[in-house]
Each structure stands twice: as structure tokens, then as C-alpha cells.
């Protein structure tokens, strides 16, 4: 047997045919993009001031981390380690906003889903808040909180809370009343209904709300950091652009999408697998 065939067989055994096919299908667009990018470095269709070479983007890591004295400084968020410090700064803000925004949004969303008074009270203000997209709040937030983490947190919470609110609310409304009635007739309380019917039943909706929160939350954060931040990936991208360091801008954008892909792959997809998919709540194409 030939060597490529052996490799292919080993891959099949390791991942399974279905998964391998999915991975291959999903990678094709990326491979095309990277190839085009690489070829641009050779043929210079667009000059390097617009599209830096792959190598210069890679180099930018070392330029930004220049003078970084190792793990201690990285962890201490020292300004000598610009790249990692900005990554951790943005990540920290995302985690904080998620820790606050997800439970609050889900909690109020469930309440609004089960209670008309709560939904009548919160829905109009939610539609109002949603109509002003995250970034439009930035100038006002700077006036209120100044430049820094309060402003970015405010902007992100504004996005995440309402997304989770509406998704959880719609999720609860989509659950068959029979589930709730069956818990009540088995002797369950309203709290039992919330934790054992509404929360799991709204899970598909809540997960898609989390996806959207990650997407719009990151976007809001980057925008807020560009205008009203003093650190973070958005701040880094913006200051690099001002100095015409395109390769640093590219690096920043790549890091953001990487973090994004990783959280989706290693947080949301497992959560989805363990809840909605396992319970058969969502229909999946073959």
C-alpha cells in the first residue's frame, strides 16, 4: 500500500469517515483564502501596505512581544508583552460581561417568557435598547464612565443582556404547556417548573443566544475598545492602524477570529451536544 493511502486510512480510523468529511468540507474555504493570501505575497496583486505577507504577520508577534521577559510578565499583563496583554485584557472583559450578562439575561428572559406582566414591562425597553446598536452607545458611555473597562463592560452588557433576554423568552414560549402541566401534576412547584422545564426546554434558543452574544458581544467590545478603551485587541488594532502597521492589524483580526472559533468549538458545541442534541430537541440535517 502506498504511503498516502496509509495516511488516509489512519486518519479514517482516528476521526471516522463522517467527521473527516465534515472537517475537510469546513476547511476548504479557509484553505482557498490562505492560498490566495500566500500567492499575493508572491505576485503582489495588492501592495504590502494593503495586504501584508503571511510572514510579516507572523513576525508582528515577535515585534509586539519584544522585550517580554517571559511568563511572569505575560501573566502580570506587562506592557512589554503587548500582544498577550491585549489578548488577556479583551478576554477578561468578555468573560466578565458573559458572567454577568448570561445569567441575568436568561433569568429575566425566562421570567418574561412565563409571565405576561414581566414581558409587557421589559419588552418595549428591550426593543428600544436593541434598536440602538451596541456601538452607538460608546460616546455616551465614555461621557458616563470615561475611557476604560466600565465603558466596554457597559457596551457589552447592553448587547448580551438583551440578546439573551429575547432568546430565552422566545425559547420558553415555544415549550409545550404539557411539559409544565406534567410537572405540576406530579407535585412540582413553580421553581421546579423553571429549573426542570423552562431552562432545559429553552436550551436550543439559549445556545443560539449565546452564539449571537459571542458574535455581537465581541464586535461591540472591539468597537468600544477602539474608541473608548485603553487596552485590548480593539485598542491594539486601532493604534496599529494609526501607525500604518497593517501586519499588526491583520494579526489582531486573526487572533479575534481564532478565539472566536475556539470558544465556539470547545465551549458552545460541547454544550449543544450535551443538551439539545442529546435530548433530540433540534433537527439536524444528515
Amino acid at each position: 500500500m502506498s504511503i498516502p493511502r496509509n495516511i488516509a486510512m489512519a486518519l479514517y480510523r482516528r476521526f471516522g469517515r463522517q467527521r473527516l468529511r465534515r472537517i475537510a468540507l469546513g476547511s476548504i474555504p479557509f484553505i482557498v483564502l490562505i492560498t490566495l493570501w500566500y500567492m499575493n505575497g508572491i505576485f503582489h496583486w495588492l501592495p504590502p501596505v494593503f495586504i501584508p505577507t503571511i510572514y510579516s504577520v507572523f513576525e508582528a508577534i515577535f515585534v509586539l512581544q519584544e522585550g517580554c521577559a517571559g511568563i511572569v510578565e505575560i501573566v502580570a499583563l506587562d506592557n512589554n508583552c503587548l500582544m498577550t496583554t491585549n489578548i488577556f485584557s479583551s478576554l477578561g472583559r468578555v468573560v466578565l460581561a458573559m458572567l454577568v450578562g448570561l445569567p441575568l439575561g436568561i433569568g429575566f428572559g425566562i421570567l418574561a417568557g412565563m409571565n405576561r406582566t414581566v414581558s409587557k414591562f421589559l419588552e418595549p425597553i428591550g426593543i428600544f435598547a436593541n434598536s440602538i446598536s451596541g456601538i452607538a452607545w460608546v460616546p455616551l458611555a465614555i461621557v458616563w464612565f470615561g475611557v476604560g473597562w466600565m465603558t466596554t463592560l457597559f457596551i457589552m452588557l447592553n448587547t448580551i443582556f438583551w440578546l439573551m433576554f429575547f432568546n430565552a423568552m422566545l425559547g420558553v414560549r415555544g415549550i409545550s404547556r404539557t411539559y409544565e402541566q406534567s410537572v405540576l401534576t406530579l407535585g412540582g412547584s413553580s421553581w421546579d417548573v423553571i429549573t426542570q422545564v423552562y431552562l432545559p426546554g429553552a436550551m436550543p434558543s439559549i445556545i443560539s443566544g449565546m452564539r449571537m452574544s459571542m458574535g455581537f458581544g465581541w464586535r461591540a467590545l472591539i468597537a468600544a475598545e477602539m474608541i473608548g478603551g485603553d487596552s485590548g485587541l480593539g485598542f491594539m488594532i486601532f493604534s496599529s492602524a494609526e501607525e500604518y502597521k497593517v501586519e499588526e492589524v491583520f494579526l489582531g483580526v486573526l487572533i479575534i477570529s481564532m478565539i472566536f472559533l475556539l470558544t465556539d468549538r470547545y465551549l458552545l458545541m460541547p454544550l449543544e451536544k450535551w443538551t439539545s442534541n442529546r435530548w433530540g430537541l433540534v433537527w439536524r440535517p444528515a
Binding site: T178, S182, L184, T185, L186, D192, P200, M203, G280
Partner: protein, 262 residues
């Protein structure tokens, strides 16, 4: 001994938000179900059968009349009245075993005792080997078996069943009906079984109550004098008592429908 379930002068009107008129669903219902009795309720579609069941379950507040179970006036759901619904009767996010043990879990029964009872009911409804499966991995018939076990395992005083076998295929339905007879013998539960299938009503029950078209009124009660252990479908076709009861119920239901349509 007084009856398990007593309904007196029960009427129900649904308000209509849009027209302002109300729908008169139940009219002056009086009925009693004795301890251990199996009663079926038949009637044309829309006559208020589900309304009656929801009131008995405590899921629908009522204003006219009185309903008592074991002498207690019903005002809200409680685990003394177990319900088996037609659809969505078990929770998709719980395994078969956890669905069946759900009532005991809500009643804070210790885990050891709970597991023992769950096992007993899994055996009773023949779901061995499926304890850790989720409902979407079960067939329609298995789901309803699980639903029956889930309600029974909570040990209700009265079992209320609203067309529980309507959504399964004919073969499975026959099996489930025979199984329900066997279970009712084993557990001696008081059962109120709603259906619009006349065969089913006559096959299962000791007594069948026939409802009129809307507003639902109790027009007749038909006794079916066949011992519970003799009830299996192989014998029924040649059982004169069954044929008599079934034809009588059928006539009552059809008479009701045509009298109203004319």
C-alpha cells in the same frame, strides 16, 4: 365508603377574548368514581372531555360546582391526581428512568427507595434495557408506556388519562390497552380514561360515561360487566356483553351527533 372522586353540578364557560362571548363547555356534570373503579368517558369532539379532565387535574380553575377527591376540594394540581397526556407526556431532557422517578424526586423520596420503585415500574411496563435512553430514542408506544409508568410511580390516588393512546398505531394501541388492564389489576388504581374511540371505552372500563355535544352533558352511563382479568382482544369479539355494551355506547354517541346535526 364514599366515592374516591365526586363531581357535583360542575359547569364551565371559557371566556372569548375577541368576541366577548363565552364558550359553554360543560353543563351541570354530576358523577362519582368508586375506589379502584375504571371509568371511561366518551363523547363527540369538542364536547368538553379535556375540559373536565383539566378541571379534575387542577390545571383549570372552575367556578360553578364542586369537585372532591378523597373528600378534599380540588383547587390546583397535586400529586394525588396523576395525569397521562396524549402528547408530550414525558420530558425530552430526562432519561426513561429519570422520567419515571420524577414524581418521587419531586416528593423528595430518598434515592435508594426511588430507584427500587423505578425498577419495579420499568418492569411493569416492559421498558427493561431502556432506562438510560432519552424519549426521542423511543417509539411512540414506548413513550406512552413510559408516560403511564411516570404517572403511576408517583402513586396518585386517581389516574386521569386524556386519550393517551390516540397517537399510536392500531396494533400498538391494542397492546397498550391490554397492558393497561393488566396494570390496573396489579395496582388497583382508580382510573378515569377519556377517549373518543368507542371500542376502547368499552374494552377498558367497568363503566362508560357518554357525553353530549357541546355544552357537554352526561347523557348516559353504560355498565360493562366483564371481569377485568377476562379482558383481552382475542375473546372480546365473541363476548356478548362486550358487543352489547359497545353497540349501546355507539348508538348513544351517534344518536347524539346526528340529533344535533339535524
Amino acid at each position: 365508603m364514599p366515592a374516591k372522586l365526586i363531581v357535583q353540578g360542575l359547569s364551565h364557560h371559557y371566556p372569548d377574548e375577541y368576541t366577548g362571548e363565552s364558550v359553554h363547555a360543560l353543563d351541570d356534570i354530576n358523577l362519582e368514581v368508586e375506589d379502584g373503579e375504571f371509568v371511561s368517558v366518551v363523547g363527540p369532539s369538542g364536547c368538553g372531555k379535556s375540559t373536565l379532565l383539566n378541571i379534575l387535574a387542577g390545571l383549570l380553575p372552575y367556578r360553578e360546582g364542586s369537585v372532591t377527591v378523597d373528600g378534599n376540594v380540588i383547587d390546583g394540581p397535586g400529586h394525588d391526581r396523576g395525569v397521562v397526556f396524549q402528547e408530550h407526556a414525558i420530558l425530552p431532557w430526562r432519561t426513561v428512568a429519570r422520567n419515571i422517578g420524577h414524581g418521587l424526586e419531586l416528593q423528595k423520596v430518598p434515592k435508594g427507595e426511588r430507584n427500587r420503585k423505578v425498577k419495579e415500574f420499568i418492569d411493569l411496563v416492559g421498558l427493561e434495557g431502556f432506562e438510560d435512553r432519552y424519549p426521542h430514542e423511543l417509539s411512540g408506544g414506548m413513550k406512552q408506556r413510559c408516560a403511564v409508568a411516570r404517572t403511576l410511580c408517583a402513586d396518585p390516588v386517581v389516574m386521569l388519562m386524556d386519550e393517551p393512546f390516540a397517537a399510536v398505531d392500531a396494533q400498538t394501541r391494542i397492546t397498550l390497552q391490554e397492558e393497561l388492564i393488566r396494570i390496573s389489576i396489579a395496582t388497583k388504581k382508580t382510573i378515569l380514561f377519556i377517549t373518543h374511540a368507542v371500542d376502547e371505552a368499552a374494552f377498558l372500563a367497568d363503566r362508560c360515561m357518554v357525553f353530549s355535544r357541546r355544552p357537554g352533558r352526561l347523557i348516559a352511563t353504560v355498565d360493562i360487566n366483564i371481569p377485568r382479568q377476562d379482558r383481552n382482544w382475542n375473546e372480546m369479539s365473541s363476548n356478548s356483553e362486550f358487543t352489547r355494551a359497545r353497540d349501546q355506547i355507539l348508538k348513544l354517541v351517534r344518536g347524539e351527533v346526528s340529533a344535533d346535526e339535524a
